[in-house]
Symmetry: C2
Subunit: 142 residues, 2 copies
Amino acid sequence: MPSVESILRQLKDKGYRRTPQRERIVEILWESDEPLTARTLHEKVKAVFPHVSLDTVYRNLELLREAGLVSQINLQSRESARFELQKEGEHHHHLVCLGCGDAICLPACPVDLDQLCAQHADEFTVTNHAFELYGYCKDCRN
Amino acid sequence: MPSVESILRQLKDKGYRRTPQRERIVEILWESDEPLTARTLHEKVKAVFPHVSLDTVYRNLELLREAGLVSQINLQSRESARFELQKEGEHHHHLVCLGCGDAICLPACPVDLDQLCAQHADEFTVTNHAFELYGYCKDCRN
DNA sequence: GTAACTGCAAAACGTTTGCACCGTT
DNA sequence: AACGGTGCAAACGTTTTGCAGTTAC
């Protein structure tokens, strides 16, 4: 059910407009199989819209994040954040390589969130969570 | 067996010196029960050494990170990175209140790390991980 | 027409670096 | 005395913001 079209429709329902740049940004995120930095995404958008600005990319990412359609991954280290589409509620986490910075998707969430939430329900209302594994990928463990 | 003294001794063995600022930085990290930002840590060091500079804090954190004594956590927040001492065995995670910013300790790690590591051992060598729950504490859920 | 969106430029922010001096060893 | 450490200031890269003009609706 999720698709570029459905994402743009969701945005429209929230009062956001359909612009060529935004369309392209969503398409690129949709087609990517790994989280992208704002800069990388910008480069890719420029292939079609040479005059698009980096701030437009940032603004769209923020907008998509607010709409709950994009999640942001902050790597350990001085590198920049990476963004990826949140496909249909189904959430997952990442193995982050401290060598090359690549993020590999973990197939499933290893945390029993319902149980954890219930466990602390009286003192704390849990809205979301973050989990990341750090280490070195095949190529970087030397 | 880990202690402020043993940490400073480990640093000494690696050729690093024992300076008052470094000593205080390690002490503060040792006493803290939650990961600290460089800025927060800086504030706390300034209580004793009013003229300590923020870059000294960064340099010491980097040095401790290289020595494998401090881990860096860069989750969710667009905020700055947070640092904590890597304490033998007693690792835990936090409930972070999005209202007041307070961090409440989770008694145990909800992740079966050994199993996860074994699961990806062939493509990835896991060195550490980060996990955080976000939400609102008693006082802030209005 | 109105409000959202864009590009540009500049600012803000966390973090890093060059340098001269200081302190530990 | 040597060399690691420090403070200062300036640089850096990422991200945010103000503004004026443009575009989708």
